[in-house]
Each structure stands twice: as C-alpha cells, then as structure tokens.
C-alpha cells in the first residue's frame, strides 16, 4: 500500500490481550511499512516497555481482558506523566465502549478507531495526527520552553489562519490564559467559542474561569446547566463537587460524584475521591463497598495503590470490623514492598490494632511507619500517617503531616477534602480544620515574606537558607520553589556562586516540569541572563 509518510522509523507499541488481534495488527502495520513494532498482551508488559522506549504511537485496545481497560491505563499514564508529549495514543474500541471513551473528557486519547477498521484507515488517521502535531509544534515548543506568553503568541498565529485547528487552538490558548492568570481574557475567549457552538469543554472552562474570578453564582449556574444538557460529561461533575466541598457542603458533593460514577464507572482517581468523601460523611458501608469492589476488580492491575487498602481498612474499622481490616492489610503487605507503601500499611495496621484494643501492637506499627523517611511524602501516605497519629493521640505529629499535604499542594481542592476527612474522622470540628488550613497558608506566606525581606536587606545567605529549606520540604509548592529559584538567581547575579547556580537551575527545571508556563520563570530567567549564565 502506498504511504505518504515514512513510517519505517516510527516506533509503535501494540497492546491487545487477544493474540490473533495482535498478530493481525502486526501484519497490517508491517504491510504499511512500519518496521519498529513491539507487541504486548498486558498493561504490566506495556508499562515495562514504555519505561524504556520512547514510542511515536501506542495502539491500545479498550478491552484488555481482566478489569482494567485502555481508558484507565491512559488515565494512569497521563496522571503519572509517563507519556511523552509527541507520543500519539490511539484507543481501539468497539461501538459499545466508544461513548465512554469520548465522554471521559478529562483524559482523551489523541484519537480512537472504531472496530472494524482497515489498515488504510489507520494510516489515514495516523497521517492526520502527524499533520496536527506538525502544525501545533511551535505551541508545544513554547510549552516546553516554559514561556506562557509565547504559547499565546503562537496560538494567535495559528488562529489568524482560521484553519481547521481553529477551535482546538482556542482551547489551548484559553487554558494558557488561565495558567498565567489572565482570567478575564480566558472568559472572553470561552465566550467567543460558545458563540460558535455550545461545546461542553468551553462551558466548563467558563465555569472554572468565573469561579477563579470569584463569581461563584455564575460559575454554579453554568455547571448546573451543563449537568442537565450533557449528563455524560463527567469532568463537570468533578468540578461541581470541588466547588461544593470548598463551600463546605460535603453531602451534596458526595451526591454529585455518585452521579458521575454512575455515568463513568471505573475512573480510579474519582473512586478514591468518592470513597474519601463517603468517609467524611460517615457513610462507611458505602466507602467499604466502593473500595472493596475496586480492589477486587483491579486485583492484578498495577494501577492499584497501597493507599486503596488503607481507605478500605479504615472504612472497615469504623464499622467495627477490625479483623477484616487487618486481613485486608495483610493481603496488601504481600503485594506492595516499596517504602511508601510500607508506611501506609504500617500506619493503617496501627489504627486497626488500636481500635481492636491492642495498644502495644498499635504503637509498634506506628513506630515502624515513623521510622521511614517522612520528610517528603505523597499526600495519600501523609494522610494515612496523620490518621494513625491522631488515633494514638499524637495530635501534634498528625497536624505536621496534614500541613505537609496542604502546603505541598496549595491549590488542590481534592486534597483539602482529604485533610478534612482525616480531621473529621479524628473527631475534630470544622473550626479546627479551618484553622489548620489557614495556619498552613499563613506559614507559607510568612516564609516567603521573611525570605524577601532578608534578601532586600542583602542578607542573601539567610534568605536562601530559609526558602531553600522550605523548598526541599515542599517540592510541589511552586510558589516556594519559584521563590527559591529567584532568590538564588538574584544571589548568583551578585556573587556568581557555582553551587548556587546549580541549585537554582535545579529548581528552575522542577518548575518547568510541573508548570512550563509558570509566571515567575520569566523573572528567574531575566535574572540569570543578567548574570550571563543562561544558555
């Protein structure tokens, strides 16, 4: 078959549990000229391959046998940043699952192919995707170069052409405007798109922008209307529940998420969030059911986490089923052996033993958890430790872990919800939680202010020590990390200290990895340029 694109050097990964389908796809792609093909039958094998090879195309069947599907796998890869930007991910689906793939708007594949399709059709799609990549490359490059304003400038160039990517590029530009906090302009652009067509993503974008501007009523109205007109658009349910949680209405938030789970079952992060919300509302039986089912369903899937068992065991404990909780934790211990999972399991064991009246065992398990390095923990691990500390009456230690979650993820409303859950289960009232959240934010502001004051007074070393300490403790708090990079850059401009430069570039890279359009990058680079040390 004649091809327009030279595909012989394109690396392709085919994931399908059916051996006949794999070999047929291989034959087809080989006949099209593809030479670098890898075939795997399971998600586990796919993960091993993706860890070592940079693929141009991943062709993944929706139905992968077992209970984890291609959509969930894609969600996992995207949320764990395991996919290269220019890797094209295509889901192959039958007509029955097509709608759920398309409706999962929070995590869309680059394209999908409806079965049956021909090799010719696949090639046509692939060429279309390559063409799109080529046209949007300048935008991607601006993203990679962390330049938010350049992203917008490149978008404007393409928008002026009024070509077939017009609406796609509006979407990218609006998201970029939101990130650099030009929210008013984002509102304008979303409205412009909505003039063309009532698209769900533009409605949701507008709702988010209005919320950011503090226009909560307008935001809520848009989101409510969208729920009625597009009940399959689950991202909107997530947004609505976040807003309700922020508004201290956990019961309503839970209801909204229950509705979302009904229309899009199987989304792991939503199930976890939903379980946590159910616990906050004291619906332990529901939490147990949700998590037990998910764990069973994903029994041999690498998408599970030890924290899922921690949630399940806590739901069991609250219903007085400590024996069952300990049994499920025992099962978890046989499946996870990394240090973080060990902390989670030990902390959960401590709670179960405590509630079973076995205080000695409880203390031993908690000490085992605390013996690991607990300075920088993933939020679910820190939450488990905080729960265990509260249970054993170590409130101060518990608060430290909760503050770590809040300060390290300042804008994450879901995690704020998780902190609220931990506190409410420990019998803390809402005022105490509110104080904890406020204190956490105040501490960060104080560190930043003290650092800036010291730097302005020329006390660079002290300023650096203060902010760098915080940045090491809170590597996800970009506010702190960017200030650390900036203060180091200012100091480098004055002293040309090589160690400080290395440290500064390190933080700068961390910011780029997490938010390539972070507003402070321009300032950091300007300062480094002043020191004539940027590339």
């Amino acid at each position: 078959m004649a091809t327009l694109t030279n595909v012989s050097n394109k690396k392709v990964l085919i994931i399908d549990d059916m051996p006949e389908m794999r070999s047929q796809l291989q034959m087809s792609l080989t006949s099209l000229g593809f030479e670098k093909l890898h075939l795997v039958s399971s998600i586990k094998d796919a993960m091993d391959r993706i860890a070592t090879t940079q693929y141009d195309v991943i062709l993944c069947d929706y139905n992968l046998g077992g209970n984890t599907n291609g959509q969930q796998f894609l969600e996992y890869l995207r949320t764990h940043n395991k996919l290269e930007r220019n890797c094209v991910f295509i889901i192959i689906t039958a007509e029955n699952s097509y709608e759920s793939v398309v409706a999962a708007a929070e995590c869309l594949p680059d394209d999908y192919l409806l079965k049956p399709f021909t090799a010719g059709q696949f090639l046509a799609r692939f060429e279309r995707l390559l063409e799109r990549q080529e046209v949007l490359r300048p935008i991607d490059q601006a993203h990679d170069n962390k330049n938010g304003h350049k992203v917008i400038a490149e978008c404007n160039k393409i928008l002026a052409l009024k070509n077939k990517y017009f609406v796609d590029v509006c979407k990218i530009k609006a998201a970029a405007l939101m990130r650099i906090e030009h929210t008013d302009e984002a509102v304008e652009l979303y409205n412009e798109v909505l003039q063309l067509r009532d698209l769900p993503w533009a409605q949701l974008g507008l709702a988010r922008a209005q919320a950011k501007l503090g226009n909560m009523q307008a935001s809520e109205e848009i989101s409510q209307k969208l729920m009625q007109t597009n009940p399959q658009f689950v991202a909107n349910f997530d947004f609505a529940s976040e807003i309700l949680m922020q508004d201290n209405k956990p019961e309503q938030a839970l209801q909204v998420l229950k509705d979302a789970a009904a229309s899009s079952p199987g989304n792991m992060s939503r199930t976890r969030h939903l379980t946590a919300l159910a616990m906050t509302n004291g619906e332990y039986a529901m939490a147990e059911e949700l998590m037990a089912e998910t764990i069973k369903k994903h029994k041999h899937s690498p998408l599970r986490e030890a924290a899922d068992y921690a949630l399940l065991s806590r739901a069991l404990i609250e219903q007085g089923k400590t024996k069952e909780a300990l049994a499920s934790l025992k099962e978890a211990a046989t499946q996870f052996d990394d240090s973080e999972s060990k902390v989670v399991i030990a902390a959960s064991n401590s709670i179960a033993h405590f509630k079973a009246g076995d205080l000695k065992e409880a203390e031993a398990a908690l000490n085992q958890a605390l013996a690991e390095d607990t300075r920088v923990l993933p939020p679910s691990v820190a939450a488990s430790l905080a729960e265990a500390c509260f249970t054993s009456g170590k409130d101060e230690a518990a608060n430290t872990f909760l503050k770590q979650i809040l300060q390290n993820n300042p804008d994450d409303l879901r995690l704020q919800g998780r902190v609220k859950m931990v506190c409410s289960m420990a019998g803390k009232d809402t005022d105490e939680v509110a104080t904890l959240i406020q204190d956490s934010a105040k501490e960060i502001i104080k560190i930043n202010n003290d650092g800036v004051r010291k730097a302005q007074a020329g006390e660079y070393k002290e300023a650096i020590k203060l902010i760098v300490d915080a940045a090491e403790r809170l590597p996800n708090n970009l506010n702190i990390v960017s200030n650390a990079a900036l203060i180091l850059a200012v100091s480098v401009a004055n002293s040309a200290d090589k160690d400080e430069l290395v440290q500064c570039l390190n933080y700068r890279q961390k910011i780029i990895d997490k938010d390539p359009v972070h507003p402070k990058l321009a300032q950091i680079d300007a300062m480094l340029k002043k020191a004539k040390l940027t590339s």
């Binding site: 389908m21 796809l25 006949s31 029955n96 079965k115 399709f117 609406v167 399959q232």
Partner: protein
C-alpha cells in the same frame, strides 16, 4: 438485546475484523474486504440501533474537519471499489464544523456502501456549507430509490426491509443526524432521485 446476544454479535464482528486484516495483508482482495466490512458494519448498525432505541446512545460534538473526513472516506472506498469512479467535491467546504465524527462517519459509510453497490460507474461525494448547515451528499448513477422507499422514508417508516436493503442503515443515519442539535435546529437526512438528465439516488445529510 441480552448479554448473550451482544457477546455473540461482538464475537462475529471480531472474527470479521481479523479476516479483513488478513486479506489486506495478502493484497488484491478488495471485493472480499468490502463484503466483510459491509457485514461487520451491518452488525455495528444493529448494535447501535438498539442502543438508540433504548435511549442509551449519546453523541459527543466537537470541532472537526469535514474535508479530512471526506478525504479519508474517498481514499478508503476507492480501494474497496476499484471499478467505480469516486469523485469528491470539497470546494465549498468550511474549514471546520461541529459534529460527532465517529457517528457521522458511520452514517456516511453506510450511504457510500449503498451508493457504490447500486452505481453503474460513478459515485459523487461532496461536502458544502449551505446557509447555516453543513451538507454531506452521496450521489450514485444507478437506478435511484424506488417510489415505495421514498414514500416510506417521507412517512418516517424507517427500519423496514426493502429491495435496497434492510433500511436500518438509513434509519440509523437519520437518528444520528437528528441527535445533532444546534440552537433548536436538528440535523436531518434527505433522500431524493437526481432530476433532469442525471440519474441515481441522492443521499443528503445536513448538520446544523
């Protein structure tokens, strides 16, 4: 439709898909591939028709390029029907439009199969903007739709077996079009026979 019936149909579809790949790799089997794809599409139509009847079918509308879709279809069908001349006209196509591409593709594939099947030697495929609608047209140079069929279609008696086929493809195309609604205006399928010196069936799919 119960789970067993669904599973059987999916099984059959998967087997057909496998044979398509095998024949493609072998080469020179266009006619066989067409028949298999047609068989598989018929099963897909049936499954989606049931979803539609149960009120479970949902469409997702986003911006997409009608020209790209037409290009894909023409390339594919030229390979399927090497003896039919397939012409496409995109001169009045807009750069982008808003629809569920997978479902509109399915509706057009059904119409194209039908047209290529009944054409003497030529099928014309076009997409153009007419006022505030996007109109896809598939026209063949065959004997055209018979009067009974046109009558039934105008009476909305869809899904009935006729000489030209089961009618389920048309019924489905019609509901897919109807589900595309913009500012209160629904999409629609129109059938007619070419007038004047021209002959043949004209299938039009209009999207607001």
């Amino acid at each position: 439709m119960n789970e067993l019936e669904l599973a059987v149909i999916h099984d059959a579809k998967n087997s057909l898909g496998e044979v398509v790949f095998r024949l493609e790799a072998r080469g020179g089997c266009a006619a066989e591939i067409v028949s298999l794809i047609h068989a598989s599409n018929s099963l897909t139509n049936l499954l989606i028709w049931h979803r539609q009847q149960d009120g479970a079918m949902r469409i997702s509308i986003d911006s997409t390029s009608p020209t790209d879709l037409l290009h894909e279809l023409v390339t594919e069908f030229r390979q399927f029907f090497p003896n039919i001349t397939i012409e496409s006209n995109i001169s009045q196509a807009p750069m982008f439009w808003f629809y569920d591409e997978a479902y509109i593709r399915l509706a057009l594939v059904n119409a194209l199969h039908n047209a290529c099947h009944h054409a003497k030697m030529m099928v014309q495929l076009s997409v153009r903007q007419v006022d505030s609608k996007l109109v896809f047209t598939v026209q063949d140079d065959g004997a055209g739709y018979d009067d009974v069929m046109l009558e039934r279609f105008s009476q909305k008696q869809l899904g009935e077996v006729s000489r030209r086929g089961t009618g389920i493809g048309l019924a489905l195309a019609s509901s897919i079009a109807n589900m595309h609604i913009n500012k209160g205006v629904k999409g629609q399928v129109m059938l007619s026979n070419a007038g004047g010196n021209a002959h043949g069936a004209v299938f039009e799919l209009a999207l607001p």
